[in-house]
Amino acid sequence: MTDTAREQVAPQTIQVTVDGTPVPAVPGELVIEVAERAGVYIPRFCYHPRMEPVGMCRMCLVEVSGPRGFSLQPACYVRVADGQEVRTSSPKAAKAQEGVLEFLLVNHPLDCPVCDKGGECPLQDQALSHGPGESRFVEEKRHWEKPIEIGPLIHLDRERCIQCARCTRFAAEVAGEALIDFAFRGAHIEVAPFPERPFSSYFSGNTVQICPVGALTAAPYRFRSRPWDLEQVETTCVTCSVGCRVAAQSSAGRLVRYLGIDSEPVNQSWLCDKGRFGYEAVHATNRVTRPLVRRAGELVEARWAEALREVAAGVRQSDQRFGPGGIAVLGGARLTNEDAYAWSKLAKSILRTDHVDAQLGDGLPAELVLGLPRATIDDAVHAKALIVLAPDLREELPVLYLRLRKAAATVPVIECSTVPTALSEVAHVRCGYLPGEAQRLAGALVGDGSIEEIPGADPAEIERARAVLSALSGEGSDAAVGDGVVIVLGRPSLAEDARSIAGAAALLQRALPGARFLSVLRRANVHGALDMGLAPGILPGRVGLEAGRQWFEAAWGELPSDRGRDARGILEAAASGELSMLILLGADPIADFPDAALARHALEQVDLLVAVATHRDASNELAHVVLPVAGADERFGSTTNLEGRVTRLAPKVVPPGVAWPAWSVAAELARTLGNDLGCSSIETLSREISRLAPAHRGIDLDQLSAPERRDGIVAPLAETPVTLLGRRDGTSPRPIDPMATPGIFSVEEQGAPLGAGTALPVGGSGRRASSPEGARPPLLALGGLEALGLGGGAPGRLDAYSFRLVLRRALYDHGTLVQASLSLRGLAGQAVLAANPHVLEQLGVQAGDPVRCKSERGAIEVPIAPDASLARNVVVLTANLDDGANALVDAGSPVTDVRLETLA
């Protein structure tokens, strides 16, 4: 139905009668949907609005009129026809429903008092509403060992299973990995993983969310709470930049569960397991709870005032030594928009430095991300063709992967990747390439340059990709070339310099001016941080430093005179003693910057290293001052996902110790410096963003607070007309469906999210800061490759003894968040170096043997693993596992080539 509703042409409507009430319907709609619209609830178990109907459980039987009179039909499977009459509670329908419910209870253990689902259970609820009053079953029930662990996060109680196949269908249909299926037959049918293969999927938690009984339970939640003890807010997952909508639930002041909310344009109710269970990190023991300052080489607890004075002294010292350019700010991609704005304002107008970068050399140039025409996820899944030049999305942006995977059934997908990814399986064309050749490959795709002799690429595949693209250009002559094409753009390998990808993107844009881009940078609010100006040469609202100078100087005061350095530049400058002070905004460059040696050296060199942090990590271990801030589920504010969609965050628990919101750290630091940031509350900040930042004009927390803005608002708002819902079809977001996702209490029931009532009315008295004179500065637009100043950077030839390194990411790694989540930390894989089996043969080593992998920058020892899908001249390492693979990367070079040695 979701797809039909998107059609722009007004669909033909028919009349259906549900329990005597006429209802207009669209041909093809399911009876259950039409009835629901008419306010008639039909009981159900197997039906899930996000999966194909199967009509298995028979709970939804209703009487439907047909050519041969009325017959009992499953409402979840039958599609409406004109003039059809539906009786949902006639004696016959009611008896059938009661009968099915009684049958379901026949073997059900009814151990509700010890069942996680008790109190929010569709079986309980529907037994009450549509079941017989009492049981006539006096026989012995079916017994099974309970519960069994079917995967690292999932337990299964087969006695409670009602065989609805929601879980197995999710695995096969949505996640694309049928790791669980039915085994045996009839009354003995059971959900089971395959022998020797646990149900370890990045999406396994969804099966728990949609199980209509307590058969599937999640290890992190089991027995933690009862539904009636739960409190809930609606917020956004800030684990990655997809920004899935979630219900965050707590019990006794601790987070205990995340459930995916059905946000039509974003996650459509699904979550990945990292996002779903990552809340455990909030209560981790390595949280920073009090300010820390270094005394006699040790970090010791201090009061806020003392710590801030220490930072202020550092600022003054830096100013004396270097003038305004002696300070740099790294990170900020995990802050809220308001935090990021406050820090951007502090850095650029008070510290007067433009050495600011929210990315850690692992992303793409800010001008590129902000300047390219943007696509939404919906644009991508309805594109005429998708070009994916990105890392393995299942590892980095799991729910985006689910959406694109589904889209591949109808949209031709051209994947450009150095090594196969999860998406390759469903891609129509996969163009491989040797790291460093992305720009040439892109040129070949759009007919700019030869398709022959691009290292690592197969000319036949390029031909196929070109055929897909040229088939499109035939359509509609007045449309721009590339209209309807969406390019998913990210950093395929951390060991391939961003310049090559930026060059590729610029080429694609020039050849396909109608194409739009979906940026797949990974960290939760990296797009918000860039939007708020946490990047060199950028001001809030996607404005360039020079273009926005007049506007922002009028509002903020004097700005830095020149464009600053990016992350690599900052670290290089620090390492060579050209910086006095470095502020880390929740960033851990030692773990995340592709060149670990450079990062460590830089951090050790500065006079004052300040870390604004939620958790202790490798980088803030070196800091002189550590300032504790509120993290996920502890803050008000908003976040911006990879589409530019702004959604509201809501706190569910209080920050530990004396942690502050990051924006108030910026405000207090300004005050300590004898300045005023002009923001006294999250609301004033939000209104200032809405007023000053051009791309975020008209978007503030008041707007985002209404329950019908569950889907957020995509920035920038169109000039006219304004669709605040961010939905193309203009319909309002789906109501919470307790049968699709048991356990979410609806917002309507809850009232508006916390804090919503404190906001001032839209456009109200929020005029405390003066509004600048003159025209609003224009949004950044990408002028082309040259404008980026990026050209060149072509890799050297790979010599015959070397391998080109691909440095990928894995969903579960040794990053701070995963390691702070008890349930997830053990899921990080073992570090291996993957190579073609031929390479192992040549080296004379077996799978699992350690080898030495050496680059110009460093060397590591790591077990080798054969992977026949790889070319013979590349090797693959995974960033941020325990092997320190990022020590190999030379951030200054277009690619990293390595040699392998045996350790005999």
Partner: protein, 436 residues
């Protein structure tokens, strides 16, 4: 009346080597195919239509009509159902084991008539000898030029694959069979789509026919549809192979002219069933397999006629007739049949998966002496929740008709032998316990 109708599908079974190619060729084998290939496919379809050949798999749908429903498409399939797994049904078993070439020739003729280039025979996995002989016969047919490229020089080609089942009765249901053939779980498909002829194997239009249905085709082509239709009466034309079992003197298979022959002939005639075992009295009989409602002695005079049996509220079904005499316990019979369905339910639909087990437990409890009077109403009501109205043909709350077949024996038992059920309750067990 026992007629002198020709034996159409069992003509060769008197020979001990009936399964060999030599015997087959010596007794008119593959002549039907040669004759068919000499005519356009449409004419063959016409002959079959004229023969008014009813499907022999259970539903009794006219083969010619089914063929005419095949949606024209580039790829179409023919699938032959040889999964025969219902208790007391053993006619396809016989045809596969004793005359495999006849099955194959019929299949080739049907494929030719339908313009299909790939056919499958899905054969019950437990038919070890049958599978061996069927496979052997397929190889021989290829060698003989009756299968493969350019069959008998006609320019037309067909491939035939034998697929062994994996031990599930439900895979005899045609859509479960197709799923199984595709390598999936044997779950019947939900309707719509209503017919495999529209969307069948791998989504392509597919005709599914029974083994015995195929076995009739060589004769029909050789003798003409009219000759076939001249046998029997009304819509029940030709002969049919009946499997007789239970309390009779001479259980076994009998090919009889339809409609004109009666149940009394089949069960009682000395040349056929030879009467109820040991001179006992007939108590009841099942006219068409364990899915069918039971008949009493008053129905003996009924002809072996699809419509006549249907009119009396049962079916000829799979052509297996089971005889119960006065030593047969009605409760036990219903329980054993229900236990079969309980074990064979695929488990998709709640009413069938859970209902079958519940009914089985209640029946066993009654048989074992722990029954309650209220159990009778409970049984009937639970049956009603699987097949609303508990009538025949059944309405259903399920995906396929296995579920609604479960009530047949239970409702028959209770309706015909209520006192016997109550006696079990009163006496705390089976009154016939000692007679066995």
């Amino acid at each position: 009346m026992i007629t002198d109708a020709p034996r159409i599908v069992t003509s060769r079974l008197g020979h001990s080597d009936s399964h060999t190619l030599e015997r087959y060729l010596a007794t008119g084998g593959y002549e039907g195919l040669r004759a068919a290939l000499a005519r356009p496919p449409a004419e063959i379809r016409e002959e079959v239509d004229k023969a008014s050949l009813l499907g022999r798999g259970g539903a009794g749908f006219p083969a010619g009509r089914k063929w005419s429903m095949l949606r024209p498409a580039e790829i179409t399939y023919l699938v032959i159902n040889g999964d025969e797994s219902e208790p007391a049904t053993f006619k396809d078993h016989l045809l596969i084991e004793r005359d495999p070439h006849q099955v194959i020739e019929g299949t080739i003729i049907a494929a030719y008539a339908l313009g299909v280039a790939q056919a499958f025979i899905f054969c019950r996995g437990e038919f070890a000898l049958g599978l061996e002989r069927l496979s052997q016969a397929v190889n021989e047919a290829y060698a003989h030029g009756a299968l493969g490229r350019n069959i008998f020089g006609s320019g037309w080609s067909l491939d035939l694959v034998i697929h062994p089942g994996a031990g599930a009765y439900i895979c005899g249901e045609e859509t479960a069979l197709l799923e199984s053939l595709e390598g999936k779980r044997g779950f019947p498909r939900i309707k719509p789509p209503y017919f495999p002829a529209a969307i069948g194997l791998y989504g392509a239009p597919t005709v599914v026919n029974n083994i015995e249905t195929m076995s009739n085709l060589p004769w029909i082509v050789r003798n003409g549809g009219a000759a076939f239709a001249a046998l029997g009466q009304g819509s029940s034309t030709g002969t049919r192979l009946f499997a007789l079992s239970g309390r009779v003197e001479r259980p076994g298979w009998y090919e009889l002219e339809m409609s004109k022959t009666t149940f009394a002939d089949l069960i009682m005639d000395p040349s056929l069933g030879g009467g109820v075992k040991d001179g006992h009295d007939l108590k009841a009989f099942i006219p068409g397999g364990v899915s069918a409602p039971w008949f009493g002695p008053e129905h003996l005079s009924l002809g072996l006629d699809q419509d006549a049996v249907a009119k009396q509220g049962s079916m000829l079904g799979s052509g297996s007739v089971v005889v119960m005499d006065d030593t047969t316990c009605a409760v036990r019979a219903a329980w054993r049949i229900t236990r079969f369905f309980y074990r064979e339910s695929c488990g998709q639909c709640t009413p069938c998966r859970e209902g079958s087990g519940w009914l089985e437990k209640i029946l066993r409890r009654i048989e074992e002496g722990a029954g309650r009077e209220a159990d009778l109403d409970l049984l009937m009501d639970a049956c009603d929740n699987i097949a609303p109205g508990v009538s025949w043909p059944p309405q259903q709350t399920t995906i396929c008709v296995l579920g609604p077949s479960i009530p047949s024996s239970i409702a028959s038992g209770i309706r015909m032998f209520r006192d016997e059920f109550l006696l079990h309750v009163k006496e705390g067990g089976c009154p016939m316990r000692d007679a066995r």
